[in-house]
Amino acid sequence: MGRATPWALALGQMALLVLLGPLVTGVIQKLKARLQCRRGAGILQPYRDLTKLLRKGTVQADTAGSFFRAVPVLVLASTCAAAALVPVLFAPPAAGSASPLPLGDAILLLGWLALGRFLTAVGALDAGGAFGGMGASREMTVATLVEPVLMLVVFSVSVVAGTTDLGAIAGHLSLRRGSFGAPDILALFAMLVLLLAETGRIPVDNPDTHLELTMLHEGMLLEHSGPGLFCLVLAHHTKQIVVMALVQALFLPWIPASTAPFALALGLGAFAARTLVLAIFLALVESSYAKLRFFRLPQFLGIGFLSAFLAVALRLL
């Protein structure tokens, strides 16, 4: 076994997630278009949009401070940091040895994601536009409902593995295939609710809208342009694939335990297949439902909280 260092592997997985993020969005968009009897743009369209943004100049509001320019880079950086913490290709069972993901655990991952969200909102407020403030206020309202539930879901699984290290959790769960109890089902259900919210999709947010007044996440990006917008859009693609990878690590962890090239290829194939399943789930939901009335969101996300809470309770009792 050519001993790749854990560091190199973690960074390699991070790079993979950042590179594949836009492709996942492209696939979801294509699936949605087909479900709505449209032809739709090619699955590579998000990459084209990103390169277009890189070539464009930046326009900044007069009211924006210097911090505004730093926001996109910081958001992208924190999201990439989160991407380094999820197991994708391999996850050895935690045999007491060095952790496969030496950079941090699930709580840090949630922290990085929360930091990205916080920075995006601060940037939107800093620009001084009405839509940015509106988007930020809504995003934060949703965040207060989403983040605690996400913690609960992670805890409900980590009490089984006895660790909050995602690599170790995934490795541990990989060992006991087939045992999928009531707490797992409840937690997975909560996680799927959160997946819709965290990826900014219907019924929580509508990523395709041009109606400024209805926007959540898009509203916060309105004042950004050019390379800055590139960073934020790429960060959003990355966040989406990270959350999808998190779902897989917690609930569908059939991840090879070895770092041999063949095993890694197998891991990549398995990851692609599972991601496709989640993409189909998102596309189906987006094509079947209208967006919820904003004040109904607490009810919807409350269902997620309830199932996550029950999952934890069942585990501990």
């Binding site: 949605k32 479900l35 709505q36 009897c37 449209r38 009405a130 839509f131 403030g133 509106m134 206020s137 809504r138 219907i202 019924p203 509508n206 395709d208 809208t209 041009h210 109606l211 400024e212 007044l213 209805t214 309105l222 987006e286 094509s287 079947s288 439902y289 209208a290 967006k291 919820l292 009335r293 904003f294 004040f295 109904r296």
Partner: protein, 549 residues
Amino acid sequence: MALELDTIPALSAAVVSERLGARLGGRVAFSSAPRERDVTARLERADDLLEAVRELSGGLGMGLATVVATDERREREGDFKVRYVFEPARPTGEPLADLFVSVVVSAAATRPEVPSLTPLLPEADWHEREMRDLFGIEPIGHPDPRTLVLHDGWPAGLYPLRKDFDARMQPERLPAPEFPHVVVEGEGVFEIPVGPIHAGIIEPGHFRFSSVGETVLHLDARLFFTHRGLEKRVEGLTPRDAFFIAERLCGACSVSHALAFAEAVEQIAGVTAPPRARFLRVVALELERLYNHVGDIGNICAGASYHAGTSAGMRLKETLQRENEQLTGNRFLRGFVVPGGVYHDGAARAAAIDRVARETGDRLTELMLALERNPSVVDRLDDTGILTPEEARDLGVTGVAARASGIDRDARRDHPHAAFGGPGAVVPRVSTDAAGDVHARVTVRAAEAAESVRLLRQLVASLPPGPLCAPLPDVLPAWRTGVAVVESPRGASIHWLRTDGAGRVDRYHVRSASYANWPAVPVAALRAIVPDFPLVNKSFELCYACTDR
């Protein structure tokens, strides 16, 4: 008030003249104009206006159709005239009398003033502000001193619709304060300025929300960014030339505007379109209504972020617009209606229209079932943006918006035009809903679209033979007035046209359906949260171009 409601007599020119004459103590002169059956009441004193309007709106249950000001300083009496055109407005479930009562008052050339009707009739608000902007006629006692059509920086004392204003001039833009609007103050109150440039490709309008959190406290709308001065532009043109401008007032109601203008011209010329043309005009009108309504239902789905519905609506609209192009060479059906009749004979496309109409009807039924069975969609539509029947009546709302608030009025029935009147008249079924919310406006639209499908299939199967067009005189009679109402997809469009001494256009005024309905949007928006405003707005689906003109 209830007592008065019960005692409304059957309206006719004779009844109106008698009641109005008695109320004003004889200080009024009557004539039968613009049409034989209409009444024009010339008041001796402008001060009697409020009294006359109390009689018409309170006693006789009439509503304000439009207000037309004219600059007659170069004519015999050397003054400004303001015509307040009323029509029967209290729904009875039966066809209302096809009657216009024009109350005419004179305003002095030196300092034109008339009493304001707005405190009495909220529906007069925009008309009077427009008259103040474009003619400099001051409505004394109007509660809103802000301009409507002219925006900040337009020089004071420059009135574009006066005859001595040269439309070719380029007035200097003066420094001026930003959009004066109602400022709401208090802890946590924010202003959200939206537009006039939007993220999507839509027409320009500026909306200023005052909100606490997501709750709308007040909404000020500023329109007229696309004011092109079309009414000024057509002055001095022959009605034949002016027709092409009237047809292009806006895109989505091209047939309605073309037809209303054509009927006004025909009235002046004393010409009636031949039967085949009248029936073909209804075909065009209903095709226009159908493609608008299915497209609007799709757009409402976009407002609720229901993608499947949006795509379905777009698909149906596209199919219909392709058929429009086959029929007339234009996706908006332009070039179909001409003064005197129609230009195209639909016979060759009759089978295709029948098929497209039938398929559209079937697909629309499926779409509506999908909407009604999807709780996530119904939850967005129900109770959102309610416009109560009282508000709808006070603001003079028309079309789908009025019928969804329980007001049973439809110009196809109440002011029969094209083949909706006369021998073999086409009788449309009028659909209403009392709820007044977005859901009601969707339901009424769907029912009307289904009715259009029925009418289209019935019409193309039984077109009467005959010529397509009646000859119009080369020069129209001088100093004649025509008024025509057409039920456009958005409601009743009223066109008022007068010829000058050479038979050319002296004054042309359009009150589009959108113009009548815009003031209702900020009212309905108060019963929705900020992120639901696009949905409320789309449920009215008003046009900016034919409001701004």
